[in-house]
Symmetry: C2
Subunit: 224 residues, 2 copies
DNA sequence: GCGACCCGATCGATCGATCGATCGATCGAC
DNA sequence: GTCGATCGATCGATCGATCGATCGGGTCGC
Protein backbone atom coordinates (compact mmCIF):
# COMPACT_ATOMS: atom_id res chain seq x y z
CA UNK A 1 0.00 0.00 0.00
CA UNK A 2 1.05 3.55 -0.42
CA UNK A 3 0.31 4.12 3.23
CA UNK A 4 3.34 2.04 4.06
CA UNK A 5 5.61 4.92 3.17
CA UNK A 6 6.68 6.68 6.32
CA UNK A 7 4.93 9.98 6.54
CA UNK A 8 7.47 12.57 7.74
CA UNK A 9 10.83 11.67 6.24
CA UNK A 10 12.73 8.41 6.21
CA UNK A 11 15.69 8.58 8.54
CA UNK A 12 18.13 7.41 5.91
CA UNK A 13 17.03 10.22 3.66
CA UNK A 14 17.44 12.78 6.41
CA UNK A 15 20.97 11.51 6.96
CA UNK A 16 21.80 11.89 3.29
CA UNK A 17 20.43 15.40 3.15
CA UNK A 18 22.27 16.42 6.29
CA UNK A 19 25.47 14.99 4.87
CA UNK A 20 25.10 16.91 1.62
CA UNK A 21 24.47 20.12 3.51
CA UNK A 22 27.35 19.79 5.93
CA UNK A 23 29.89 18.34 3.49
CA UNK A 24 29.12 21.18 1.07
CA UNK A 25 29.20 23.77 3.80
CA UNK A 26 32.22 22.78 5.89
CA UNK A 27 33.83 20.06 3.83
CA UNK A 28 34.09 16.34 4.56
CA UNK A 29 37.00 16.60 6.98
CA UNK A 30 35.49 19.71 8.53
CA UNK A 31 32.32 17.85 9.45
CA UNK A 32 32.14 15.62 12.53
CA UNK A 33 29.79 12.72 12.88
CA UNK A 34 28.23 14.39 15.91
CA UNK A 35 27.31 17.43 13.85
CA UNK A 36 26.01 15.11 11.19
CA UNK A 37 23.91 13.22 13.72
CA UNK A 38 22.54 16.42 15.22
CA UNK A 39 21.57 17.81 11.83
CA UNK A 40 19.87 14.54 10.90
CA UNK A 41 18.08 14.38 14.24
CA UNK A 42 19.51 11.25 15.87
CA UNK A 43 22.46 10.13 17.92
CA UNK A 44 25.90 9.52 16.54
CA UNK A 45 25.56 5.85 17.40
CA UNK A 46 22.33 5.48 15.47
CA UNK A 47 24.06 7.01 12.49
CA UNK A 48 25.91 3.76 11.94
CA UNK A 49 22.70 1.87 11.29
CA UNK A 50 22.32 3.87 8.08
CA UNK A 51 25.89 3.99 6.87
CA UNK A 52 28.96 1.82 6.92
CA UNK A 53 31.40 4.54 7.81
CA UNK A 54 31.74 8.24 7.27
CA UNK A 55 33.80 7.69 4.15
CA UNK A 56 31.42 5.08 2.77
CA UNK A 57 28.61 7.56 3.18
CA UNK A 58 30.54 10.16 1.21
CA UNK A 59 31.32 7.63 -1.48
CA UNK A 60 27.71 6.57 -1.81
CA UNK A 61 26.54 10.16 -2.11
CA UNK A 62 29.10 11.01 -4.77
CA UNK A 63 28.44 7.86 -6.75
CA UNK A 64 24.70 8.42 -6.78
CA UNK A 65 25.09 12.02 -7.87
CA UNK A 66 27.44 11.16 -10.67
CA UNK A 67 25.37 8.22 -11.82
CA UNK A 68 22.31 10.39 -12.20
CA UNK A 69 24.26 13.08 -14.01
CA UNK A 70 25.71 10.49 -16.35
CA UNK A 71 22.30 8.94 -16.96
CA UNK A 72 20.83 12.31 -17.84
CA UNK A 73 23.70 12.98 -20.21
CA UNK A 74 23.23 9.64 -21.88
CA UNK A 75 19.53 10.34 -22.29
CA UNK A 76 20.41 13.65 -23.94
CA UNK A 77 22.89 11.95 -26.23
CA UNK A 78 20.30 9.37 -27.24
CA UNK A 79 17.73 12.06 -27.95
CA UNK A 80 19.84 14.53 -29.93
CA UNK A 81 21.78 13.26 -32.90
CA UNK A 82 23.04 16.53 -34.32
CA UNK A 83 26.30 17.50 -32.53
CA UNK A 84 25.37 21.17 -32.24
CA UNK A 85 21.98 20.45 -30.78
CA UNK A 86 23.36 17.76 -28.56
CA UNK A 87 25.91 20.09 -27.07
CA UNK A 88 23.30 22.75 -26.45
CA UNK A 89 21.15 20.16 -24.73
CA UNK A 90 24.10 19.02 -22.65
CA UNK A 91 24.82 22.55 -21.51
CA UNK A 92 21.17 23.08 -20.72
CA UNK A 93 20.95 19.88 -18.71
CA UNK A 94 24.23 20.51 -16.91
CA UNK A 95 23.36 24.05 -15.87
CA UNK A 96 19.89 23.12 -14.72
CA UNK A 97 21.11 20.12 -12.80
CA UNK A 98 23.85 22.11 -11.08
CA UNK A 99 21.53 25.00 -10.32
CA UNK A 100 18.90 22.73 -8.83
CA UNK A 101 21.26 20.69 -6.69
CA UNK A 102 24.21 22.92 -5.84
CA UNK A 103 25.06 20.99 -2.67
CA UNK A 104 25.62 17.77 -4.56
CA UNK A 105 27.85 19.49 -7.06
CA UNK A 106 29.98 21.16 -4.43
CA UNK A 107 30.52 17.85 -2.71
CA UNK A 108 31.22 15.92 -5.90
CA UNK A 109 33.61 18.55 -7.25
CA UNK A 110 35.37 19.37 -4.03
CA UNK A 111 35.69 16.20 -1.99
CA UNK A 112 37.11 13.69 -4.42
CA UNK A 113 40.42 13.95 -2.60
CA UNK A 114 38.75 12.82 0.62
CA UNK A 115 38.00 9.43 -0.91
CA UNK A 116 40.55 6.65 -0.97
CA UNK A 117 40.91 3.26 -2.53
CA UNK A 118 38.49 1.64 -4.98
CA UNK A 119 35.59 3.95 -4.18
CA UNK A 120 37.65 6.89 -5.31
CA UNK A 121 38.63 5.12 -8.51
CA UNK A 122 34.99 4.35 -9.18
CA UNK A 123 33.96 7.97 -8.72
CA UNK A 124 36.77 9.22 -10.92
CA UNK A 125 35.77 6.71 -13.59
CA UNK A 126 32.19 7.94 -13.52
CA UNK A 127 33.34 11.52 -13.89
CA UNK A 128 35.57 10.54 -16.79
CA UNK A 129 32.71 8.82 -18.57
CA UNK A 130 30.61 11.95 -18.21
CA UNK A 131 33.37 14.13 -19.58
CA UNK A 132 34.01 11.69 -22.41
CA UNK A 133 30.46 12.25 -23.55
CA UNK A 134 31.12 15.96 -23.82
CA UNK A 135 34.40 15.34 -25.58
CA UNK A 136 32.80 13.07 -28.15
CA UNK A 137 30.11 15.64 -28.83
CA UNK A 138 32.65 18.41 -29.33
CA UNK A 139 34.70 16.20 -31.63
CA UNK A 140 31.63 15.36 -33.66
CA UNK A 141 30.76 19.02 -33.96
CA UNK A 142 34.25 19.78 -35.14
CA UNK A 143 34.12 17.02 -37.74
CA UNK A 144 30.77 18.33 -38.93
CA UNK A 145 32.22 21.80 -39.29
CA UNK A 146 29.82 23.22 -36.73
CA UNK A 147 32.44 24.25 -34.15
CA UNK A 148 35.66 26.15 -34.63
CA UNK A 149 38.19 25.80 -31.85
CA UNK A 150 41.89 25.04 -31.90
CA UNK A 151 41.82 22.47 -29.13
CA UNK A 152 38.75 20.41 -28.35
CA UNK A 153 40.24 19.14 -25.09
CA UNK A 154 40.82 22.68 -23.91
CA UNK A 155 37.36 23.76 -24.99
CA UNK A 156 35.81 20.86 -23.13
CA UNK A 157 37.55 21.70 -19.90
CA UNK A 158 36.81 25.40 -20.16
CA UNK A 159 33.19 24.65 -20.97
CA UNK A 160 32.64 22.24 -18.11
CA UNK A 161 34.40 24.43 -15.59
CA UNK A 162 32.36 27.41 -16.65
CA UNK A 163 29.06 25.55 -16.48
CA UNK A 164 29.78 23.90 -13.17
CA UNK A 165 30.43 27.26 -11.59
CA UNK A 166 26.69 27.84 -11.56
CA UNK A 167 26.40 25.64 -8.50
CA UNK A 168 28.69 27.98 -6.59
CA UNK A 169 26.71 31.19 -6.95
CA UNK A 170 23.25 30.64 -8.43
CA UNK A 171 20.48 31.94 -6.19
CA UNK A 172 16.97 30.62 -6.98
CA UNK A 173 15.57 33.77 -5.36
CA UNK A 174 17.68 35.96 -7.63
CA UNK A 175 16.55 37.96 -10.64
CA UNK A 176 17.21 35.24 -13.21
CA UNK A 177 15.23 32.01 -13.27
CA UNK A 178 17.14 28.81 -13.83
CA UNK A 179 15.74 28.00 -17.30
CA UNK A 180 16.66 31.48 -18.51
CA UNK A 181 20.12 31.12 -17.02
CA UNK A 182 20.56 27.81 -18.80
CA UNK A 183 19.69 29.45 -22.12
CA UNK A 184 22.24 32.19 -21.49
CA UNK A 185 24.84 29.53 -20.85
CA UNK A 186 23.87 27.86 -24.12
CA UNK A 187 24.60 31.14 -25.85
CA UNK A 188 27.94 31.46 -24.08
CA UNK A 189 28.86 27.89 -24.97
CA UNK A 190 27.99 28.42 -28.62
CA UNK A 191 30.09 31.56 -28.71
CA UNK A 192 32.98 29.82 -27.01
CA UNK A 193 32.91 26.99 -29.50
CA UNK A 194 32.57 29.33 -32.45
CA UNK A 195 29.35 27.53 -33.34
CA UNK A 196 27.80 28.26 -36.69
CA UNK A 197 24.55 30.14 -36.39
CA UNK A 198 22.26 27.27 -37.14
CA UNK A 199 19.27 26.55 -35.01
CA UNK A 200 19.58 24.37 -32.01
CA UNK A 201 18.19 26.75 -29.51
CA UNK A 202 14.87 25.27 -28.78
CA UNK A 203 13.75 24.88 -25.25
CA UNK A 204 12.44 21.50 -24.36
CA UNK A 205 9.64 20.88 -22.00
CA UNK A 206 8.34 23.28 -19.46
CA UNK A 207 9.58 26.58 -20.74
CA UNK A 208 6.87 28.23 -22.81
CA UNK A 209 8.92 31.27 -23.68
CA UNK A 210 9.38 31.66 -27.44
CA UNK A 211 13.02 32.05 -28.26
CA UNK A 212 14.10 34.70 -30.63
CA UNK A 213 16.95 33.45 -32.71
CA UNK A 214 20.03 35.55 -32.46
CA UNK A 215 22.72 34.91 -34.99
CA UNK A 216 25.84 35.90 -33.16
CA UNK A 217 25.37 37.67 -29.89
CA UNK A 218 22.03 39.18 -29.24
CA UNK A 219 21.15 41.96 -26.90
CA UNK A 220 17.55 40.95 -27.12
CA UNK A 221 17.26 39.64 -23.63
CA UNK A 222 17.23 41.92 -20.65
CA UNK A 223 20.31 41.71 -18.42
CA UNK A 224 18.21 40.96 -15.44
CA UNK B 1 75.41 40.25 -1.31
CA UNK B 2 72.23 38.96 0.14
CA UNK B 3 74.25 37.05 2.67
CA UNK B 4 71.50 37.60 5.20
CA UNK B 5 69.40 34.98 3.48
CA UNK B 6 70.07 31.55 4.87
CA UNK B 7 71.63 29.40 2.23
CA UNK B 8 69.53 26.22 1.92
CA UNK B 9 65.98 27.35 2.60
CA UNK B 10 64.59 29.49 5.38
CA UNK B 11 62.51 27.43 7.72
CA UNK B 12 59.58 29.80 7.52
CA UNK B 13 59.58 29.41 3.77
CA UNK B 14 59.69 25.63 4.02
CA UNK B 15 56.69 25.76 6.32
CA UNK B 16 54.77 27.88 3.86
CA UNK B 17 55.57 25.60 0.97
CA UNK B 18 54.64 22.52 2.94
CA UNK B 19 51.36 24.15 3.93
CA UNK B 20 50.51 24.99 0.32
CA UNK B 21 51.28 21.45 -0.76
CA UNK B 22 49.30 19.72 1.96
CA UNK B 23 46.37 22.13 2.05
CA UNK B 24 46.03 21.82 -1.73
CA UNK B 25 46.42 18.05 -1.63
CA UNK B 26 44.31 17.01 1.35
CA UNK B 27 42.54 20.21 2.31
CA UNK B 28 42.95 22.36 5.40
CA UNK B 29 40.87 20.18 7.71
CA UNK B 30 42.38 17.06 6.19
CA UNK B 31 45.90 18.15 7.09
CA UNK B 32 47.24 17.63 10.60
CA UNK B 33 49.80 19.71 12.40
CA UNK B 34 52.12 16.71 12.57
CA UNK B 35 51.96 16.05 8.84
CA UNK B 36 52.70 19.70 8.23
CA UNK B 37 55.69 19.57 10.57
CA UNK B 38 57.04 16.42 8.99
CA UNK B 39 56.76 17.83 5.48
CA UNK B 40 58.52 21.02 6.56
CA UNK B 41 61.23 19.07 8.36
CA UNK B 42 60.76 20.06 12.01
CA UNK B 43 58.73 19.12 15.04
CA UNK B 44 55.14 20.11 15.54
CA UNK B 45 56.16 22.22 18.52
CA UNK B 46 58.73 24.20 16.51
CA UNK B 47 56.03 24.92 14.00
CA UNK B 48 54.55 27.44 16.38
CA UNK B 49 57.67 29.59 16.24
CA UNK B 50 56.75 30.43 12.64
CA UNK B 51 52.98 30.73 12.82
CA UNK B 52 50.36 31.88 15.27
CA UNK B 53 47.96 29.06 14.74
CA UNK B 54 47.00 26.69 11.96
CA UNK B 55 44.20 28.97 10.88
CA UNK B 56 46.38 32.08 11.01
CA UNK B 57 48.84 30.31 8.75
CA UNK B 58 46.10 29.54 6.25
CA UNK B 59 44.87 33.11 6.40
CA UNK B 60 48.34 34.53 5.79
CA UNK B 61 48.89 32.25 2.81
CA UNK B 62 45.58 33.15 1.23
CA UNK B 63 46.01 36.86 1.84
CA UNK B 64 49.47 36.91 0.31
CA UNK B 65 48.33 34.99 -2.74
CA UNK B 66 45.37 37.23 -3.33
CA UNK B 67 47.35 40.40 -2.73
CA UNK B 68 49.86 39.45 -5.35
CA UNK B 69 47.16 38.49 -7.83
CA UNK B 70 45.39 41.78 -7.21
CA UNK B 71 48.62 43.74 -7.60
CA UNK B 72 49.33 42.05 -10.90
CA UNK B 73 45.83 42.82 -12.11
CA UNK B 74 46.17 46.45 -11.09
CA UNK B 75 49.45 46.65 -12.95
CA UNK B 76 47.74 45.26 -16.05
CA UNK B 77 44.90 47.75 -15.68
CA UNK B 78 47.36 50.62 -15.40
CA UNK B 79 49.25 49.44 -18.46
CA UNK B 80 46.37 48.74 -20.84
CA UNK B 81 43.79 51.43 -21.38
CA UNK B 82 41.76 49.86 -24.18
CA UNK B 83 39.11 47.57 -22.66
CA UNK B 84 39.61 44.83 -25.22
CA UNK B 85 43.34 44.73 -24.78
CA UNK B 86 43.04 45.04 -21.05
CA UNK B 87 40.80 42.04 -20.85
CA UNK B 88 43.14 40.00 -23.02
CA UNK B 89 46.01 40.98 -20.74
CA UNK B 90 43.96 40.04 -17.68
CA UNK B 91 43.20 36.62 -19.10
CA UNK B 92 46.83 36.12 -20.02
CA UNK B 93 48.02 37.14 -16.57
CA UNK B 94 45.38 35.05 -14.81
CA UNK B 95 46.08 31.89 -16.76
CA UNK B 96 49.84 32.19 -16.41
CA UNK B 97 49.61 32.93 -12.72
CA UNK B 98 47.31 30.00 -12.10
CA UNK B 99 49.37 27.66 -14.24
CA UNK B 100 52.58 28.61 -12.47
CA UNK B 101 51.24 28.34 -8.94
CA UNK B 102 48.42 25.81 -9.00
CA UNK B 103 48.78 24.95 -5.33
CA UNK B 104 48.09 28.50 -4.24
CA UNK B 105 45.02 28.69 -6.42
CA UNK B 106 43.59 25.44 -5.16
CA UNK B 107 43.99 26.60 -1.58
CA UNK B 108 42.62 30.08 -2.22
CA UNK B 109 39.64 28.82 -4.18
CA UNK B 110 38.83 25.84 -2.04
CA UNK B 111 39.51 26.69 1.57
CA UNK B 112 37.76 30.02 2.06
CA UNK B 113 35.13 28.19 4.10
CA UNK B 114 37.81 27.03 6.53
CA UNK B 115 38.50 30.61 7.57
CA UNK B 116 36.42 32.37 10.20
CA UNK B 117 36.04 35.86 11.55
CA UNK B 118 37.82 38.97 10.27
CA UNK B 119 40.50 37.10 8.37
CA UNK B 120 37.86 35.48 6.24
CA UNK B 121 36.18 38.81 5.58
CA UNK B 122 39.51 40.26 4.56
CA UNK B 123 40.19 37.44 2.11
CA UNK B 124 36.72 37.69 0.63
CA UNK B 125 37.16 41.45 0.23
CA UNK B 126 40.41 40.94 -1.63
CA UNK B 127 38.78 38.44 -3.95
CA UNK B 128 35.91 40.84 -4.55
CA UNK B 129 38.29 43.65 -5.46
CA UNK B 130 40.00 41.39 -7.96
CA UNK B 131 36.71 40.40 -9.54
CA UNK B 132 35.53 44.02 -9.59
CA UNK B 133 38.50 44.80 -11.80
CA UNK B 134 37.33 42.22 -14.29
CA UNK B 135 33.79 43.44 -14.09
CA UNK B 136 34.79 47.05 -14.75
CA UNK B 137 36.83 45.95 -17.75
CA UNK B 138 33.94 43.99 -19.21
CA UNK B 139 31.57 46.89 -18.64
CA UNK B 140 33.97 49.27 -20.35
CA UNK B 141 34.26 46.91 -23.30
CA UNK B 142 30.49 46.74 -23.56
CA UNK B 143 30.17 50.51 -23.49
CA UNK B 144 32.84 50.79 -26.15
CA UNK B 145 30.94 48.33 -28.31
CA UNK B 146 33.80 45.84 -28.27
CA UNK B 147 31.98 43.06 -26.46
CA UNK B 148 28.55 41.61 -27.06
CA UNK B 149 27.05 39.67 -24.22
CA UNK B 150 23.63 39.75 -22.63
CA UNK B 151 24.82 39.76 -19.04
CA UNK B 152 28.24 41.12 -18.06
CA UNK B 153 27.96 39.65 -14.57
CA UNK B 154 27.33 36.22 -16.00
CA UNK B 155 30.16 36.59 -18.48
CA UNK B 156 32.55 37.64 -15.73
CA UNK B 157 31.73 34.60 -13.62
CA UNK B 158 31.91 32.21 -16.54
CA UNK B 159 35.18 33.72 -17.65
CA UNK B 160 36.87 33.61 -14.26
CA UNK B 161 35.67 30.11 -13.54
CA UNK B 162 36.92 28.90 -16.89
CA UNK B 163 40.34 30.52 -16.49
CA UNK B 164 40.87 29.39 -12.91
CA UNK B 165 40.29 25.82 -13.95
CA UNK B 166 43.76 25.81 -15.45
CA UNK B 167 45.22 25.38 -11.98
CA UNK B 168 43.34 22.11 -11.61
CA UNK B 169 44.72 20.28 -14.61
CA UNK B 170 47.61 22.08 -16.26
CA UNK B 171 50.74 19.96 -16.46
CA UNK B 172 53.98 21.87 -17.16
CA UNK B 173 55.43 18.67 -18.61
CA UNK B 174 52.50 18.37 -20.99
CA UNK B 175 52.41 19.08 -24.71
CA UNK B 176 51.38 22.72 -24.41
CA UNK B 177 53.61 25.35 -22.84
CA UNK B 178 52.01 27.81 -20.49
CA UNK B 179 52.39 30.94 -22.68
CA UNK B 180 50.74 29.11 -25.58
CA UNK B 181 47.96 27.95 -23.31
CA UNK B 182 47.41 31.50 -22.12
CA UNK B 183 47.02 32.67 -25.72
CA UNK B 184 44.46 29.95 -26.39
CA UNK B 185 42.52 31.13 -23.38
CA UNK B 186 42.68 34.68 -24.71
CA UNK B 187 41.06 33.40 -27.90
CA UNK B 188 38.40 31.55 -25.93
CA UNK B 189 37.69 34.61 -23.83
CA UNK B 190 37.34 36.83 -26.89
CA UNK B 191 34.96 34.36 -28.46
CA UNK B 192 32.95 34.10 -25.28
CA UNK B 193 32.61 37.86 -25.04
CA UNK B 194 31.76 38.21 -28.71
CA UNK B 195 34.73 40.51 -29.07
CA UNK B 196 35.08 42.39 -32.32
CA UNK B 197 38.08 41.13 -34.18
CA UNK B 198 39.85 44.45 -34.26
CA UNK B 199 42.31 45.28 -31.57
CA UNK B 200 42.99 41.95 -30.02
CA UNK B 201 45.66 39.50 -30.77
CA UNK B 202 45.65 37.00 -33.49
CA UNK B 203 42.23 36.17 -34.75
CA UNK B 204 41.69 32.50 -35.30
CA UNK B 205 41.69 33.07 -39.04
CA UNK B 206 45.35 32.36 -39.53
CA UNK B 207 47.13 31.45 -36.38
CA UNK B 208 50.88 31.67 -36.80
CA UNK B 209 51.37 28.55 -34.81
CA UNK B 210 49.04 25.61 -35.21
CA UNK B 211 48.80 24.52 -31.64
CA UNK B 212 47.20 21.20 -31.12
CA UNK B 213 47.03 19.11 -28.07
CA UNK B 214 45.70 15.64 -28.31
CA UNK B 215 46.49 14.10 -25.02
CA UNK B 216 43.98 11.47 -24.01
CA UNK B 217 41.08 13.21 -22.42
CA UNK B 218 40.28 10.43 -20.01
CA UNK B 219 43.22 11.28 -17.88
CA UNK B 220 42.24 9.45 -14.74
CA UNK B 221 44.08 10.49 -11.70
CA UNK B 222 45.62 7.65 -9.83
CA UNK B 223 43.64 6.60 -6.79
CA UNK B 224 46.79 7.21 -4.81
C1' DG C 1 73.88 35.27 28.96
C1' DC C 2 70.47 36.47 25.86
C1' DG C 3 67.48 35.77 22.12
C1' DA C 4 66.37 32.83 18.19
C1' DC C 5 65.32 28.38 17.26
C1' DC C 6 64.25 23.66 18.13
C1' DC C 7 62.73 19.57 20.65
C1' DG C 8 60.32 15.69 23.68
C1' DA C 9 56.59 15.31 26.52
C1' DT C 10 52.12 16.25 27.36
C1' DC C 11 47.81 18.89 27.83
C1' DG C 12 42.44 18.82 27.31
C1' DA C 13 39.36 18.30 23.60
C1' DT C 14 37.51 16.02 19.94
C1' DC C 15 37.76 12.56 16.50
C1' DG C 16 35.45 8.20 14.28
C1' DA C 17 33.68 4.16 15.85
C1' DT C 18 31.80 0.40 18.98
C1' DC C 19 29.44 -1.56 22.81
C1' DG C 20 25.43 -3.41 25.42
C1' DA C 21 20.84 -2.13 26.46
C1' DT C 22 16.28 -0.53 25.48
C1' DC C 23 12.11 0.37 22.88
C1' DG C 24 8.13 -0.65 19.87
C1' DA C 25 6.53 -3.43 16.11
C1' DT C 26 5.91 -7.89 14.03
C1' DC C 27 5.12 -12.83 13.96
C1' DG C 28 4.47 -17.80 14.67
C1' DA C 29 2.91 -21.11 18.18
C1' DC C 30 -0.51 -22.55 21.01
C1' DG D 1 -6.20 -13.72 22.05
C1' DT D 2 -2.03 -14.17 24.29
C1' DC D 3 2.76 -15.02 24.90
C1' DG D 4 7.63 -15.37 23.97
C1' DA D 5 11.02 -14.63 20.13
C1' DT D 6 12.86 -11.80 16.98
C1' DC D 7 13.92 -7.65 14.60
C1' DG D 8 15.12 -2.84 13.17
C1' DA D 9 16.08 1.35 15.22
C1' DT D 10 17.74 4.11 18.68
C1' DC D 11 20.25 5.43 22.75
C1' DG D 12 23.97 6.69 26.55
C1' DA D 13 28.46 5.47 27.59
C1' DT D 14 32.82 4.83 26.21
C1' DC D 15 36.74 3.14 23.48
C1' DG D 16 41.64 4.21 21.55
C1' DA D 17 43.48 7.50 18.48
C1' DT D 18 44.39 11.88 16.98
C1' DC D 19 43.53 16.67 17.11
C1' DG D 20 45.63 21.62 17.85
C1' DA D 21 48.28 23.70 21.09
C1' DT D 22 51.46 24.44 25.20
C1' DC D 23 55.24 23.91 28.35
C1' DG D 24 59.92 23.62 30.07
C1' DG D 25 64.19 22.85 28.79
C1' DG D 26 67.89 22.29 25.47
C1' DT D 27 71.37 24.15 21.82
C1' DC D 28 73.88 27.54 19.47
C1' DG D 29 75.50 32.07 17.66
C1' DC D 30 76.49 36.44 19.08
Amino acid sequence: MRAAETAPAPTAQRVREAAFELFAERGYHGTGIRQLAERAGLSSASLYHHMGSKEELLGALMRESLERLLAEAQAVAARESDPGERLCALVRMHVRSHGERPLETRVVDGEVAALTGPVRAEVVALRDRYEALWHATIDAGLDAGQFHVTSPALARRALLEMCSGVARWFDPAGPTALPDLAEQYVDLARALLGATATAGRRVDGDTPRPVEISEGFSRSRAPR
